[in-house]
């Protein structure tokens, strides 16, 4: 009897130890990767790094400015497309949650979220690049915009659903038309939620490479024309990482470092905003 209980306690301790061990081990890759990126990346960072174009092999120095500008423009255009569209769909889902159509729209959002990003790249290639005959930053933005829709829609829907129904009733009871109630009262109240969802979606697509491979394609020079091919940080990293040259590897590390810092920053901003609207109600 005593022996049985002791063995059970022993197993319990062993199990807990095993769980903790494996959990800690799960964090190891992250720490390793971050450590490596910081170590390699920081040595590449200097002022030149940010304002120069990549130099051909053999020449020292060079920078990632084409990638920086490219990522900024492509993500900006994608946001302009995705945020209004996503917010409206989120609004629709929160207001008409009991409609049959609403169920199918919700299903579409889930499916959209799971589509591999390379497939989206293929689609936009077929829809935009092939008909126009050339790669363009705009096509890259459209692909990214589709990827941004699900997070924006979901967080808009969630925030608006949290708003107490009695506010809507108070406005309607004053004789305010429904559409004005939504636009002037409900939406402003949900703004921080919509914003946090938008910034979250930006942080998710900023690092995406696959959808840009056959749309924005990349560009060794600075380009601000969205109808032409454009570089972006992830594309830079992919191209230079795949090369055999040490110099270009250094560039790739620097770019990785910058990219990770950007994403981290966006994540922190999202968290702060989330705290704001989750507490409000």
């Amino acid at each position: 009897m005593d022996k049985l209980i002791r063995s059970r306690f022993y197993k319990d301790r062993l199990f807990k130890g095993g769980i903790m061990l494996f959990t800690v081990l799960s964090t190891v890759p992250l720490l390793l990767i971050l450590f490596y990126i910081v170590k390699q990346g920081i040595s590449s960072i200097n002022w030149d790094f940010f304002i120069n174009l990549p130099k051909p092999v053999g020449e020292k120095g060079g920078g990632i400015i084409n990638g920086l500008i490219g990522t900024s423009i492509i993500v900006l255009v994608a946001s302009v497309i995705a945020i209004p569209f996503g917010a409206v769909i989120g609004l629709y889902l929160s207001e008409y949650s009991r409609d049959k159509l609403s169920y199918w729209v919700g299903l579409c959002v889930d499916v959209l979220q799971g589509i591999p990003s390379i497939v989206l790249g293929i689609i936009i290639y077929l829809w935009v690049v092939k008909p126009t005959g050339h790669f363009s930053a705009l096509s890259g933005s459209i692909a990214l915009a589709i990827m941004m829709l699900p997070p924006i829609i979901k967080s808009t829907e969630e925030t608006l659903k949290l708003i107490p129904g009695t506010i809507k009733e108070a406005s309607l009871a004053l004789g305010v038309p429904y559409y004005k109630t939504i636009l002037r009262i409900i939406l402003p109240m949900g703004l921080s939620g919509i914003l946090s969802g938008s910034i979250l979606s930006i942080s998710r697509v900023a690092g995406e490479t696959a959808p840009l491979l056959f749309t924005a394609f990349g560009n060794p020079f600075i380009n601000t024309n969205i109808l032409k091919p454009m570089s972006s940080l992830p594309l830079l990293i992919f191209n230079y990482a795949g090369s055999a040259y040490e110099d270009w590897h250094k560039l790739a590390w620097g770019a990785s470092f910058v990219l990770i810092m950007m994403i981290l920053l966006l994540n922190i901003v999202t968290k702060i905003l989330e705290r704001k609207w989750k507490i409000q109600f």
């Binding site: 197993k11 729209v105 959002v109 889930d110 799971g114 591999p116 942080s203 490479t209 696959a210």
Partner: protein, 318 residues
């Protein structure tokens, strides 16, 4: 003189107002806009559905040349000859399945442990928050950075192991990409599994504890059986994610068109073939074959996604 009631009745023909008093006009406009607004909202939902359907239809139509030319051979042939237009996706199908399944096998003990740790042992508090943040951070790292790190850090390690095992020291290959893939899908399985585990009703656990069960026994005999379907869904959704992962795998899998002999061989997945060869594909059939692989990926990940979410919904409402 206009009867106010008539003006403001719903079915009124706004254009026929002859007595254009400002008040009447304004109210009529408001009613008209009200209608447009409500219909407009529904329209945006429909646009989303149309976009999704268009994606599927586009993939299907542009895969037609490949389907017509190759038929079923696409699935079982291992020829890859752009010159003679003979394509078989078998090596890539195998590569995809191998890497994803291997990644699942590698990641599950770690993901499950973390989920149990966060869902059962430490659901709240500083430790829990730090861990949750670390795992979320894992999900934020771009795929291409994972690939790069893998190239520089992981590949030499694997190469060393291969040397010791007297296998060809490619460094890259199925194993290497599976390892990176495993790391990448951990955050997704942990997040969902943790939620599922923390949803076990306390009354169930307390019943077992009051009978003298140890924590291990409660987890093994009460929590895991109860959450079985939820955990399965979490694994399923992680699998869906792994199947579609492109960049890191492309950089670490070795890009070979042959069927991998063992886990140390180089190989290719459907996604990595598309990534590598899409822009260089010459000829209608070649491109169409790659698109057909994209179609396959789309269909499989969508099915996995929908079933996973259905299972979760059913689990929650139980």
């Amino acid at each position: 003189m206009i009867n106010l009631n008539e003006v403001l009745t719903k079915g009124f023909d706004y254009k026929s107002i002859t007595h254009k008093s400002k008040e009447n006009k304004k109210l009529a406009n408001v009613l008209r806009f009200e209608n447009i607004f409500q219909k407009g909202l529904g329209l945006t939902g429909i646009i989303l559905i149309i976009i999704l359907l268009s994606i599927f239809i586009t993939l299907a139509i542009t895969s037609m040349p490949s389907i017509k030319h190759l038929g079923i051979k696409f699935l079982y042939s291992k020829e890859w000859n752009p010159v003679t237009d003979e394509f078989g996706a078998l090596p890539f199908l195998l590569g995809t399945l191998l890497t994803s399944l291997l990644a699942l096998i590698i990641s599950t003990p770690f993901a499950l442990s973390s989920a149990i740790f966060l869902g059962e042992y430490y659901p709240a508090g500083i430790v829990s928050n730090i861990l949750k943040n670390i795992i979320e951070l894992l999900a934020s790292i771009p795929s291409v950075v994972y690939g790069f790190w893998g190239m520089v850090v992981l590949v030499p390690i694997i190469r060393n192991i291969e040397l010791k095992l007297h296998v060809l020291p490619y460094g890259v290959g199925i194993l290497t990409s599976s390892i990176i893939l495993a790391i990448m899908i951990i955050p997704y399985s942990v997040s969902l599994s943790r939620q599922v585990i923390s949803m076990v009703p306390p009354s169930l656990k307390e019943g077992a504890y009051s009978l003298g069960a140890t924590r291990f026994e409660v987890i093994r005999k009460i929590i895991i059986p109860h959450t079985r379907s939820g955990l399965f869904a979490a694994v399923l959704l992680a699998l869906g994610r792994a199947l579609g992962e492109t960049m890191a795998v492309t950089m670490l899998i070795g890009n070979s068109h042959y069927i991998p002999k063992n886990i140390f061989s180089p190989g290719n997945t459907m996604a990595s073939v598309i990534a590598n060869e899409f822009t260089e594909a010459t000829g209608n059939v070649y491109l169409s074959v790659l698109i057909e692989m994209g179609l396959l990926l789309f269909v499989v990940t969508t099915l996995i996604n929908i079933s996973g979410r259905q299972i979760i919904k059913r689990y929650i409402f139980h």
